[in-house]
């Protein structure tokens, strides 16, 4: 089972790296947004500092959603999803591996780029660890939610819009607590409360999410 988990993880990462655009697009998008905002907005640093957190979260959300449609659809269309379902690997494990890969590909680059963001938004350097930490805690939940949305709508051709409707409201708490953590960090206050909350949500999502996603996939491939 461990072997299968890592095999799926490795496969998805390999594929992502072969189609470099999948990795590079969110990153480029991030850089563009990060460098554009200070241009568009008045470059006064007091002003910028206030919006840095918001921009970070919106971008993280958007880059996760970018890959949303594709997360299971590619596997469904080339038949590898049905093979996975028939294999001895529990589907929940396979889902966890796929979501982990998606997370590694979309989020880790963002975390690595936070210093760039901090620079362009004139954030105090001290807030960087908070930012990175908040991202690392909030984004697993985000990835699970996105995957759930993708799985629920896999069987659907007509109403994919619901993905957005399903997932986006569910992400609101993440964004609100995440932003609050960063804002507290910027003004030097204690960030523990929102971070605990994000961690609790992540634990919940990672433990229950894959089962629900697997169930939705089974209905979806019929």
């Amino acid at each position: 089972m461990k072997r299968a988990f890592f095999a799926i993880l490795q496969r998805d990462l390999q594929i992502a790296f072969r189609r470099v655009s999948e990795i590079a697009n969110p990153l480029l998008f991030f850089i563009i947004v990060a460098s554009l905002f200070p241009l568009a907005v008045s470059p006064d640093s007091e002003h910028l500092r206030g919006i840095g957190g918001g921009v970070l979260w919106v971008v993280a959300l958007l880059s996760s959603l970018l890959a949303l449609e594709g997360l299971f659809r590619a596997d469904a269309e080339d038949g590898s999803l049905e093979q996975l379902m028939l294999s001895p690997v529990p589907l929940g494990v396979a889902v966890l591996a796929k979501v982990t890969a998606h997370w590694l590909v979309t989020i880790v680059p963002l975390v690595l780029l936070t210093p760039v963001l901090a620079l362009s938004f004139a954030l105090p350097v001290g807030v960087l660890p908070v930012m990175a930490f908040a991202l690392l805690l909030a984004t697993p939940t985000l990835s699970v939610l996105v995957a759930l949305g993708a799985a629920l709508t896999l069987g659907l051709r007509r109403g994919g819009a619901i993905v957005g409707l399903l997932v986006l409201p569910l992400t609101a708490p993440l964004l609100i607590f995440g932003t609050r953590a960063i804002d507290l960090g910027v003004y030097g206050e204690s960030v523990a409360a929102p971070l605990y909350l994000l961690a609790a949500l992540a634990a919940l999502a990672v433990s229950l999410g894959p089962v629900a996603i697997a169930a939705a996939l089974r209905v979806g491939v019929e």
């Binding site: 409201p169 609101a172 708490p173 169930a215």
Partner: protein, 250 residues
């Protein structure tokens, strides 16, 4: 797993259809009586509040609708879960019937809370408040449950996929309930729920509880009425239903 006989009985549309038909007048009668009595009591009998004046009377709408909205979600999630696991179509029918009612109660709770917030907190809406946020999420869950169903052409598939969403969303209910304890919020802590040492005078408590019971009965009344309609919709091609409808008309 071996299921008891009554389980199958409740899985049989004709039985439930008839049972609901028998219960609806009773539930309706009780709900209306309680709501009328409760409304009179809470609006006329009890005196205005020392601090808030007349505004506090939202106390007799807001917590009740909020509570029923959460109960409606639990009913929906549990029946959807039963339907998914044991493949009982009727359970899905109950879940579908509960969703729009629950959504309406949620909307009432949000609106009444928001109206109450203006005089007490000085704002209609405060995003940072967890209870407000998660209650809003509840509304979205009801709506996306309905939207997801609507997107499927095949009812069976719609039942099973939407059930997963309903079950996943149930984690939101305890979060709503405990949010006031977990975080310091603008929102009121538990007032009534700690019944052993109620922080409300009996005078206010009685109409409060009457309204609570009234709205609860009202929910089940609406639920069974919708369920009957849903059964008619789903079973329209079956003999028993046609017989039942004919019989009713004759």
């Amino acid at each position: 797993m071996k299921l008891p006989r009554w389980f199958h009985l409740f899985g049989s549309p004709p039985f439930v259809y008839r049972l609901a038909g028998a219960l609806i007048p009773w539930l309706g009668g009780i709900a209306c009586t309680l709501l009328i009595v409760g409304a009179y009591w809470s609006l006329v009998v009890v005196p205005p509040d020392a601090v808030q004046g007349e505004v506090y009377r939202i106390l007799y709408i807001h917590p009740q609708t909020a509570y029923v909205s959460m109960m409606a979600y639990v009913v929906m999630a549990v029946t959807a879960g039963i339907g998914y696991i044991w493949r009982i179509k009727l359970a899905h029918a109950v879940a579908v019937s509960a969703a729009p009612i629950g959504a309406s109660f949620t909307a009432c709770a949000l609106v009444s809370g928001s109206l109450w917030g203006r005089p007490t907190w000085g704002t209609y809406w405060e995003w940072g408040d967890p209870r407000i946020m998660f209650e809003t999420l509840l509304l979205f869950l009801f709506l996306s449950y309905l939207a997801l169903r609507a997107a499927f052409e095949d009812r069976d598939k719609a039942d099973r996929v939407s059930a997963i969403l309903a079950v996943v969303g149930v984690v939101n209910v305890p979060i709503i309930h405990y949010s006031v304890l977990w975080w310091n919020t603008l929102h009121q802590g538990p007032t009534i729920s700690k019944l052993d040492s109620p922080s409300m005078a009996t005078e206010f408590l009685i109409p409060f509880l009457i309204m609570m019971a009234g709205f609860t009965f009202c929910f089940y009344w609406l639920l069974l009425s919708r369920l009957r309609a849903e059964i008619v919709e789903r079973e329209r091609d079956t003999r028993w239903l046609q017989d039942a409808l004919q019989g009713g008309r004759a």
